[in-house]
Each structure stands twice: as structure tokens, then as C-alpha cells.
């Protein structure tokens, strides 16, 4: 079988052209392997060969994405590789974004296997991990020796159309794809084994890692709550009857913003829950049990609070991704600030 033809994308630094001062280097095509390409050449052995190397400055790429992408795609048209590799970019942000962008573009236009490598916190990793295979690397070039064999192994599997294993087996950054398979032991046994290991303080590997949650420092308290404008937000899915915006019962793709001017009480006839993750009977009977508009109206009248904000924000919290929730809240928080809201009561079911 003929050797697999490979084109390799690297930045100005790894090409030996220069550092930041050369980051404006325009995209260029050279024959043969260069820089980290030497390590790839060794790892490919007789199976594949880097025929060409594309070099582009990181700043040039990111500041002229369309032009740079077009130039690289033209180089690919000329050189007709069977496989495209980029980087690895380790924790270099612009390089990572360039590698991800160009891999995605090459895969889309030419339908050939593409692969890159990055440190998990490279911003390019989050941007492209669900679109292309990104081998997880260390955060600096010291990780080259680990990264190259992993990238080569996975790349050749892709070329040969072999079965690609799970991220933990292949070493790529998890791409949110789930594949069903039969394990040798059933779930209950695996769960008990994990629990026993945990109790014995032995190592164990979760089958469902929780997402990372970062921390935000608390804001300073409200000085005079009796004059403050307070808004209600809920992940309990309370919506006007009929769910006019069709907020999904789980894995919500949107949030609702509803006006409650002159609404004194949420009733069975006017409001309900769209949430599919808890028994909706009680919330449908009286949505104040989740979104306490009635009592806050009383508080308003009794001057315990200044005002209940005339809009509330709502979504269904079950199965909704951290990312989506962040996007929703980022967006409506700005609206709340612009509307002069000073505090929020968020209810969850």
C-alpha cells in the first residue's frame, strides 16, 4: 500500500521563523517536514509521509481568518493529502484556535481525516472539541513526546477507517458523543464496586464525570431591601399557560421572559410548568409554589421590598447544559441590570 500523504500545519514559532515578532507571518507552503514534523515522520515510519508543511503566523491567522483559511485551503487543493494534521498547539491560544479552525475547514471542504492536539484549557479546545478529534496534550512543548504517538495512532486509525475507541482509550478530548456498548458487568455491580473502592479510599473511575464548576465571589448585600427592586428567576419551568414559547421539557435550548405587570397571583388557569423533570401536578395547580409571585406582591404592598420586577425569567433546569444555562443567564442578567434590578431570587425544583 502506498504511503499515506500527510500535510502538516504549524505556526511561525515551530517553523523556526520567530516568536511574537514573527507572528504576522503570512501563510506559506513548503515541501517536506519541518519542526515537530520530524517527530511525526519518525512515528509514522513506513505508513505515512509528510509531503508538505504549511506555516502561518498565529496573529496573521487570527486577524485575517478568512484570507488565511482560504490560502491554506488552496495549499490543500494543490497538495492533495490523505490526512491533515495541525500542531500540536499545547496551551497556545491563538495557535490552538488556528489549528481548530483550519482542521474543521479542511475536513468540511475535502472530507479527509484531520487531527490536532491541545491542552484541555486551550480556548481552541472548547471551541472545536465537538467538531474534530483533538488529542489531549500537556500545556507546553515539553509534552511533544507524549502527544505525537497519540496523534499518529489516532490519525492512522481514521485513515484506515478503524473503529475509534472512547476518549479515555484514544487520548482525545471528550467530544460529547455517547456510544452504546455492552459491558461485561452490569451497571449495578459496577456501581457497587465503585462505592466499595471509594469507601476503602482506593482509586476508582467514574463513568459520568461531573462538569467543572468554577466559583464566583458573593456580591455585597442589599443595604435597604425595603426599597430594592427584586426580580424572580426560576429553573422550575414556570410559564404562562400553554407554554407560548415552547420551552423544552428537558435540555432546554431557550429561556422565557414574561411580563407580570398587574399579575397578583399565579393560578391554575393562567400559569403552568414546562419542566419534565418533576411531578408537575402541584406546580400546575398553583405555580406560586415554584415562582412565589403572590407573596412578593404582598411584600410589595407591606413595603418589605421596594418592587417586584415586572418581568420574570424562566427555563427548565433538567438536562440543560451548564453552557446553555450560562448563556441564558449572561443574557438576561444584562437585561436585569439595564432595567435597574438590584437583587434576584432564583428558585429551583
Amino acid at each position: 500500500m502506498a504511503k499515506v500523504r500527510v500535510v502538516h500545519y504549524i505556526n511561525q514559532f515551530y517553523a523556526g521563523i520567530g516568536g511574537e515578532e514573527a507572528a504576522g507571518h503570512v501563510a506559506e507552503l513548503r515541501e517536506g517536514a519541518l519542526g515537530p514534523g520530524a517527530a511525526f515522520t519518525v512515528a509514522f515510519g513506513e505508513e505515512a509521509e509528510i509531503t508538505h508543511t504549511i506555516i502561518c503566523g498565529d496573529s496573521y491567522f487570527n486577524e485575517n481568518v478568512d484570507v488565511a483559511k482560504e490560502a491554506v485551503l488552496n495549499f490543500i487543493s494543490q497538495t492533495k493529502p490523505d490526512l491533515f494534521i495541525a500542531g500540536p498547539a499545547f496551551n497556545a491560544g491563538r495557535y490552538g484556535v488556528a489549528c481548530g479552525t483550519i482542521c474543521e475547514a479542511v475536513a468540511e471542504k475535502f472530507g479527509i481525516p484531520v487531527i490536532t492536539g491541545m491542552y484541555a484549557e486551550n480556548p481552541g479546545a472548547d471551541m472545536f472539541k465537538e467538531k474534530i478529534y483533538i488529542v489531549s496534550t500537556k500545556n507546553s512543548a515539553a509534552g511533544m513526546r507524549d502527544a505525537v504517538p497519540k496523534m499518529v495512532k489516532l490519525a492512522l486509525k481514521m485513515v484506515k477507517e478503524d473503529r475509534i475507541g472512547a476518549s479515555i482509550e484514544e487520548g482525545y478530548i471528550p467530544n460529547s458523543r455517547r456510544v452504546n456498548f455492552f459491558d461485561q458487568e452490569r451497571g449495578s455491580k459496577r456501581a457497587v464496586n465503585m462505592l466499595l473502592a471509594k469507601m476503602a479510599e482506593k482509586p476508582f473511575t467514574t463513568e459520568f464525570p461531573m462538569p467543572d464548576f468554577d466559583r464566583v465571589a458573593p456580591n455585597i448585600p442589599i443595604k435597604d431591601i425595603s426599597s430594592a427592586t427584586i426580580a424572580l428567576v426560576t429553573s422550575g419551568g414556570i410559564v404562562p399557560k400553554g407554554n407560548p414559547d415552547r420551552i423544552e421539557s428537558s435540555s432546554a435550548s431557550k429561556y422565557g421572559e414574561y411580563d407580570i405587570t398587574n399579575v397578583m397571583d399565579l393560578t391554575e388557569a393562567t400559569y403552568e410548568t414546562a419542566h419534565g423533570g418533576y411531578d408537575p401536578v402541584y406546580a400546575n395547580q398553583d405555580s406560586d409554589r415554584v415562582l412565589p409571585v403572590d407573596v412578593l406582591r404582598e411584600f410589595e404592598k407591606d413595603k418589605k421590598i421596594g418592587k417586584l420586577h415586572h418581568k420574570f425569567y424562566t427555563t427548565t433546569g433538567n438536562g440543560t447544559s451548564v453552557k446553555k444555562s450560562q448563556e441564558f443567564a449572561l443574557e438576561f442578567s444584562h437585561k436585569l441590570i439595564n432595567d435597574g434590578v438590584q437583587a434576584v431570587i432564583l428558585t429551583s425544583t
Partner: protein, 79 residues
């Protein structure tokens, strides 16, 4: 969402039943609620009794919003 609201600069209190989740997520001001399907009510009681529960929880929430905290704090409702 609670964290993004906080990050935007608005003090926020999270009323929820499963407070460990709220702790994991990173809420700073937390008030425990009654039950998952009715955090601020109780269908086994009369509507007037339910309203009293709701008031107590919301009084605690207002207290939380008025209180300086230097980390994650659970404000227990005084029944």
C-alpha cells in the same frame, strides 16, 4: 444561572430543595426549600398555611440578600 447572575454583579439568593447541588454549582446565598415539586408550598396544607410557609422562606431569602457573606452560606428558615 445563579453563578452567572452573581458574576454579572447582582446579589442573588438561591431557593432550592437539594442544597448540596446548589453548593456544588456555586451559589453563595442559599435558602432550603420544602420539596422538589413544590419548593415554596405544601399541597397537604391549606392555602393559607402554604402562604405562611412561602412567607417564611421569602423572609429568609430577603434576610440572605441583606446579609454580608464571605463564602457559600446556607440560611436556614426559622420555623
Amino acid at each position: 444561572m445563579v453563578k452567572e447572575i452573581e458574576r454579572a454583579g447582582i446579589p442573588v439568593v438561591h431557593i432550592c430543595t437539594v442544597t448540596p447541588i446548589s453548593m456544588t454549582v456555586g451559589a453563595n446565598r442559599i435558602v432550603p426549600a420544602v420539596a422538589i415539586p413544590y419548593p415554596l408550598g405544601n399541597p397537604n396544607l391549606t392555602l393559607e398555611q402554604e402562604k405562611q410557609i412561602r412567607k417564611k422562606i421569602l423572609d429568609t431569602a430577603l434576610e440572605a440578600l441583606s446579609t454580608e457573606v464571605d463564602g457559600q452560606t446556607i440560611f436556614e428558615v426559622k420555623w
